[in-house]
């Protein structure tokens, strides 16, 4: 599916008092895409979003919106709207006036304004709340007002800065689904910022993993999870066993003192690499017919599965399995070539 680019970040840089927060990032954002900027706090994701919204001026680099450079366009002239982390509703206005705020400024005729506000109230499931004071709403309802207030302006791009951060887990899950539905219904680009990797994987078409102001990987949720490009991504997305290994030749890697078949290629001969094996990809078997042997050192019940730490050689593997083994049991670990992910060892591995 080929879509037009709507936003392009070129070499975008932002620093505060010599601390570089966003370090020369390049990113293409396509029309109708649900794209998530994901990373730990302080990774520069919110700053990037705020630069797109126009609330921060980049120190260097350019922001293009539909091919036009918008670095110097003030926020109120950008065809972009934002849903803020703490909703930032106008507490001196009722729900209707909050949503109508942008339309009143644009001097939209009363009839049309009424219609558009009503349509938004329906979209965010708040019909009948027009006259309610925003302070009397629950967190989830306030968040929906904030979304309606932004969407009613029919922006081409909606920026969302950790919009679900203040909600409890159950409500957050519901809102995730609702947001995804809304994005499909209105058909505009969502740029979503979160530190919650599960949220990012659930909702996005494209995930942008950031760390220390640098983009680590851009890809679909499946790619990001299954084919992490470096140690940081593997570590940040989900649980991982990350081992040091040597790539002998295409499809052959060694770690933990053994050689394994794998599905990766394109490395130089005997290149030092990082190897990732996801905890849920390791099968527990009897020691005899396994690739590796180990001793269970701890077991934690996690609900859906047990999380076990298994000492094998000088490495401690994390395994997620529904098959519980007692502490001290000698077991075998088994995984296939497709469960082994080989990554280049980057310079910023240890960050």
């Amino acid at each position: 599916m080929l879509r037009r680019n709507i936003i392009e970040l070129r070499n975008l840089t932002k620093s505060y008092n010599d601390t570089v927060v966003v370090d020369a990032i390049n990113l293409l954002i396509r029309e109708n895409e649900f794209i998530t900027l994901l990373g730990p706090s302080g990774c520069g994701k919110t700053t990037t979003l705020r630069m797109i919204g126009g609330f921060e001026d980049p120190n260097d680099g350019d922001i293009f919106f539909e091919g036009t450079r918008i670095n110097n366009v003030p926020p109120y002239k950008r065809n972009i709207n934002t849903v803020f982390q703490k909703y930032a509703l106008f507490t001196h206005m009722n729900v209707y006036e909050n949503i109508a705020f942008g339309l009143r400024i644009k001097k939209v005729p009363n009839d049309e304004m009424k219609k558009r506000v009503q349509r938004m109230l329906k979209l965010v499931d708040l019909e009948g709340f027009e006259k309610r004071h925003v302070d009397s709403l629950s967190g989830g309802q306030q968040q929906r007002v904030a979304i309606a207030r932004a969407l009613v302006n029919e922006p081409k791009v909606l920026l969302l800065d950790e919009p679900l951060g203040a909600l409890d887990l159950k409500l957050r899950k519901e809102m995730q689904i609702e947001l995804m539905d809304m994005q499909k219904n209105v058909g505009i680009t969502f740029i979503y910022v979160t530190h919650d990797q599960e949220e990012a994987l659930t909702m996005s078409d494209t995930v942008v993993v950031m760390n220390n102001g640098v983009i680590q990987q851009v890809g679909s949720p499946v790619d990001i999870y299954n084919e992490p490009e470096n140690r940081f991504v593997a570590d940040f997305i989900g649980e991982s066993n990350i081992l040091e290994g040597i790539m002998h030749e295409d499809f052959l890697v060694s770690f933990s003192g053994r050689k394994f078949r794998c599905v990766d290629k394109g490395f130089s001969k005997d290149e030092p690499v990082d190897v990732v094996i996801r905890p849920e990809d390791i099968d527990v078997t009897s020691p005899e017919d396994a690739d590796l042997q180990g001793v269970v050192s701890s077991v934690v019940f996690k609900g859906v599965h047990y999380e076990m730490l298994v000492e094998s050689g000088d490495f401690e593997y994390m395994i997620q399995s529904t098959d519980m083994q007692p502490v001290g049991a000698g077991i075998g670990l088994k995984f296939g070539p497709e469960d082994i992910h080989v990554m280049k060892r980057g310079s910023d591995n240890e960050k």
Partner: protein, 281 residues
């Protein structure tokens, strides 16, 4: 627990009864009687004191008092709001210092500050000396209404700045960004978002400036040079010079009622705003 905790309020209730309720009742009693204060037996019910008030001389004084207090309040608002706005937008580390500049004068004695203005504004005062030195004509500000208004604005400005600053500082920066995000430029953001949210602060500020301004007698005596008699001076004179406590009490009650009415009007302005926690009543 609930029943016991109410005993803790007794000291305050007793304090309020002795120092607020009883004096008020006494003032009310004196205002509705006539006779010799020092001979309680001679006191009779009378509305004579209230009748006296409707002399055009006294009516003019109360009109002037309210007019000057109103003028001072408006001027305080015009100067105070921008000042509060600038302080609230200043960098965090500068805010304390800027606020301090406005607070330090309050820590100095009120009389001393007003005397200082006398020294500056009087016909042979500092201001006119400086004007003479640079060859400009001298100004006859003091004694007069201008000096009184200036004294009021100077003395009461901090009471306007502080409540407005408090409300301004509480406005979430994200809310202003949200307004901009929705298409509002600086002016629209101010008119549609900042100003409505600061109404509680404006109401408290206006209240805190207007009330002392309307009843002051020190500023008008010192800077008005005895010519600008305000209601405060009138009341003071009834107790100290004319020894007519009945009329003095009646004037106090009249002033109180008029302040209450003005404040009730102000609180109507604030009524639309449901979180007017900063308003005095």
């Amino acid at each position: 627990m609930k029943n016991k905790s109410k005993y803790l309020a007794y000291p305050y209730v007793i304090w309020m009864a002795i120092f607020i309720v009883i004096p008020l009742v006494l003032v009310l009693y004196y205002s509705f009687t006539s006779g010799n204060i020092h001979d309680p037996g001679s006191l009779k019910f009378s509305v004579e004191s209230y009748g006296k008030f409707f002399d055009s001389l006294y009516l003019n004084i109360i009109i002037k008092s309210f007019w000057l207090a109103f003028l001072s309040t408006v001027l305080c608002l015009l100067f105070g709001y921008p000042v509060a706005f600038i302080i609230s937008r200043a960098k965090m580390k500068h805010r304390g210092l800027l606020l301090l500049f406005f607070l330090v004068p309050i820590w100095m004695n009120f009389l001393l500050r007003t005397y200082a203005w006398m020294a500056i504004l009087s016909p042979n005062g500092f201001l006119n000396r400086v004007l003479e030195m640079i060859g400009l004509p001298t100004l006859a500000i003091m004694p007069g209404q201008k000096a009184v208004v200036l004294g009021m604005v100077y003395n009461f400005l901090p009471f306007m700045v502080l409540p407005i600053y408090t409300v301004l500082a509480k406005i979430d920066k994200n809310v202003l960004e949200a307004a901009m995000d929705l298409g509002a430029n600086g002016l629209i953001t101010f008119v549609r978002v900042i100003l409505p949210q600061t109404i509680p602060g404006i109401v408290s500020g206006v209240t805190m400036v207007f009330m002392p301004a309307v009843s002051t007698f020190v500023i008008s005596r010192l800077l008005g040079g005895g010519k600008e008699l305000l209601i405060g001076n009138l009341i003071e004179q009834q107790f100290t010079v004319h020894r007519d406590w009945h009329f003095g009490s009646a004037l106090s009650i009249i002033l109180m009622v008029m302040i209450l009415i003005s404040m009730a009007v102000m609180s109507k302005v604030d009524a639309g705003n449901e979180q007017g926690g900063a308003a005095l009543w």
